[in-house]
Assembly symmetry: C2
Homo-oligomer: 148 residues x 2
């Protein structure tokens, strides 16, 4: 049995997920493939935009947060995926070289009514640059239960 | 002036964004980097999960939808990015070889109170496999206005 099951994810629990470093080359590769808007690809276009500089696609920041969540929680868990997010916010632009601190907080947890041995855990994930939240998402994670 | 500005994105407008093809190799590369959960990497683990098979990370499907949105709308627009999504749902798993139809619908539009010549457009994006919605997101897009 993995170390983390539904029963371990209790409301109020906060788990630190380590640091995310925004690598400029990978940030640009991601933008070229998935979000080739000028302010994600070009310094001058970024500076001329309301974002204030060449900045990461929110999908890149979110994908990096996901990786930190897998490394610190899901890899040793009974995770069965997620049906989605009730919010995914990018309150501040993220720039090359930024170092973000990543964490999650368990908001609520209940057993599935339709599936045995499955629990639904509502989680808020955040990425911080210093004291500033640059990404926040609230989603439901599906986790196998330890007890029948 | 780009072809699409705030004024063009009126509530009720639906724009077709073409097809998304789920390439297995790229799907696996994305999962290895950003979402290395067993059911996103391995056939047997996928089959054993509640997802029913090796399937795409929702972040991969969402990133592909973003690319279709850039290609069909944002590239020729006054887009100034997005502060985030009020929902991002993955109601059904997405599998290698799936061909998804992508579209958006404008839900509401208003001018920014705090920034001149900027409008906020609420948009719902969907990806369909046949008649089935496999991804839905509602978000705010910021667009420059054509008129002062």
């Amino acid at each position: 049995m993995p170390a983390i099951a539904f029963e371990d994810l209790t409301p109020g629990l906060i788990i630190q997920l380590g640091e995310i470093v925004i690598d400029k080359d990978e940030m640009l590769d991601f933008a070229e493939r998935f979000d080739p808007q000028p302010f994600h690809l070009d310094e001058a276009a970024g500076a001329a935009s309301v974002l204030g500089g060449l900045c990461a696609s929110g999908w890149y920041t979110s994908s990096l947060w996901m990786r930190s969540y897998v490394d610190h929680v899901l890899a040793g868990s009974t995770s069965q995926g997620s049906p989605g997010c009730s919010e995914l916010l990018w309150p501040k632009p993220v720039f090359p070289g930024d170092v973000l601190r990543s964490e999650l907080e368990v908001i609520s947890a209940r057993r599935s009514k339709s599936r045995e041995r499955l629990g639904l855990v509502e989680i808020t994930g955040r990425a911080y640059r210093g004291a500033e939240v640059v990404m926040r998402t609230t989603f439901v994670g599906m986790f196998g239960t330890r007890e029948p």
